[in-house]
């Protein structure tokens, strides 16, 4: 297919449809409204179902119902709406119901603003809802990458029977870039014998119970042991990371999403000033690419690292854990959706290098 100039939100929606998603439940909130709007046009054309729910709570529970019935289901929202969905995300994690949740992050806490933000990193990667669970979190930095990640998100959700979060900032949703969508009229869907679909007492399939209540301690522990084993598998198999000009670098920038692209521009500016700076960009925020981040920053040539975020510092904690004190890791970032410019980042790196 030829390249098409698409808005991020619309590209994500179409990529989900190409990945076999036929059920979308959502609720309006800026800046992600183009996703439900696009879905409301497209779903009837592909025999799917778009439903505007009465709330984010209802939307995620409809996803639970549809995912638990064996379908590829999805919802999208932006930060305050994602807070409301946490009950359902925790339920899906416990009940092992695969689903995909898109968060077009805006500024918080509370209602915050509607500009791009990365303030939901903790919420997405450290649980978000109550209980001892994880969600796989993808953080794309371009519209093309978002589209490429959507089929993977649904496959990962099905493979591990887990909720998967696409954590993008509002900028990814609102901007337009040329994309090449892989059209797929017949995506392969795994069998889901565990799903609610109507049960034949004389058949071989056991009765399906989609449940997150395990009152007896041993039985809950069985679930948690099973989930943990699965999380270990995910940690082993699903890490994605981009390293850019990191080999033999003097300094390393760490960022994800849109900010990583600003950092790439900073790397270019620094190179023009004779500084060998690289960039490490986690694509999966959970599982976090700890080993890869460590190996890049702990290189002998590297003097230090700077993590840049549109927040007051969240991913920097995981970067520091990965580096484990072997090199200094500094932070640059602001709340209020203020994105540092490439020049500001380059200046900051030069200052750190001079000090060293």
């Amino acid at each position: 297919m030829a390249k098409k100039l698409m808005k991020g939100c619309e590209a994500i929606a179409e990529a989900a449809i190409q990945a076999g998603c036929r059920y979308f439940f959502g609720y309006p909130i800026t800046p992600q409204n183009d996703i439900p709007e696009y879905m409301s046009r497209r779903m009837p054309q592909v025999g799917g179902c778009f439903l505007q729910a009465e709330s984010e709570l209802a939307a995620i529970n409809m996803v639970y119902g549809a995912g638990g019935a064996g379908a590829r289901a999805m919802t999208s929202s932006s930060s305050p709406g994602i807070s409301l969905k946490q009950e359902g995300i925790s339920t899906c994690a416990a009940a092992e119901v695969p689903c995909v949740i898109v968060n077009m992050m805006r500024g918080g806490p509370g209602l915050g603003n509607i500009q791009a933000s990365q303030g939901d990193y903790f919420q997405a990667t450290k649980g978000g809802g109550h209980g001892d669970y994880r969600c796989v979190v993808y953080a794309p930095s371009s519209i093309q990458e978002t589209c490429d990640l959507m089929p993977r998100a649904f496959d990962t959700a099905d493979k591990y029977r887990t909720p998967v979060i696409i954590l993008a900032d509002g900028l990814i949703g609102q901007m337009m870039e040329p994309v090449e969508l892989k059209m797929n009229d017949n995506p392969t869907m795994p069998e889901k014998p565990w799903a609610c679909q109507g049960w034949d007492p004389k058949g071989e399939r056991p009765r399906a119970v989609i449940n997150s209540l395990y009152i007896e301690t041993e039985i809950l522990d069985d679930l948690m042991t099973r989930l943990n084993a699965r999380y270990d598998e995910i940690r082993k198999n699903e890490v994605m990371v981009e390293t850019y000009k990191t080999e033999g670098a003097d300094f390393v920038l760490c960022a994800y999403g849109t900010v990583a692209r600003v950092c790439k521009a900073a790397v270019r500016i620094l190179a023009e000033n004779g500084i060998k700076c690289g960039l490490v960009r986690p694509i999966t925020l959970w599982p976090f690419p700890s080993k890869e981040v460590h190996d890049v920053i702990a290189q002998e040539s590297v003097q230090g690292a700077l993590t840049v975020e549109i927040s007051n510092g969240q991913m920097v904690e995981d970067i520091r854990l990965a580096v484990n004190g072997e090199k200094p890791v500094e932070f640059m970032g602001k709340g209020g959706s203020i994105i540092p410019t490439a020049e500001e980042i380059a200046d900051r790196v030069m200052k750190i290098m001079r000090r060293a």
Partner: protein, 178 residues
């Protein structure tokens, strides 16, 4: 070649469309492009702007903080973004709506009476296309026919009859720079 542009004006002046058409035309000519709108809670009125990049190389940061060209359709936009333009860059001023001059002396200023020319063509709504034509006439970064191709996709065949008027507007805009 890297063009980093900001298009700005009142909501309703078609500044977002100008940017989109440029980004789409750039893409059709094999360039890397990006388009970022400003967005707020307001639906109509207010100010609107978008950042558009065109590049032969892969676009790292799509954010435009120092534009190579600033295209402004109203006075508040000129006042807001004038200082951000890189030295040696260009400012395209809709002189039908903006009664002040560019203060900076280290940039190229072009004054385009967009509304007057559009009215001459019989439709003041194509003021934005006059301006886009002026920018393209100066920057030569895409072909006018490619812009019209992108516009046709946007409008759909039902509104194909509007293409000749827009072609005329783009050409008149380009002409008033040379």
């Amino acid at each position: 070649m890297v063009e980093r542009n900001i298009f700005a004006g009142f909501g309703g002046q078609g500044v977002l469309l100008m940017g989109q058409l440029l980004a789409a035309a750039g893409m059709k000519e094999g360039k890397n492009t990006s388009w970022i709108p400003s967005y707020g809670p307001e639906m109509r009125g207010g100010t609107a702007n978008c950042s558009v990049m065109l590049s032969e190389e892969e676009i790292d940061s799509p954010l435009v903080t120092r534009p190579t060209s600033l295209i402004v359709m109203n006075r508040p936009s000129l006042e807001k973004f004038e200082d951000a333009v890189v030295p040696g860059g260009s400012i395209f001023v809709n002189s039908s709506m903006i009664d002040i001059k560019v203060k900076r002396t280290d940039v190229n200023a072009y004054y385009v009476p967009c509304t007057e020319i559009a009215t001459e063509l019989g439709n003041p709504k194509v003021s934005n296309m006059i301006m886009l034509g002026a920018y393209i006439g100066k920057s030569k970064c895409v072909d006018i026919e490619t812009v019209l191709e992108a516009l046709l996709e946007k409008l759909g065949e039902r509104k194909a009859k509007l293409i000749p008027l827009n072609r005329e507007a783009l050409k008149r805009g380009a002409g008033c720079i040379e």
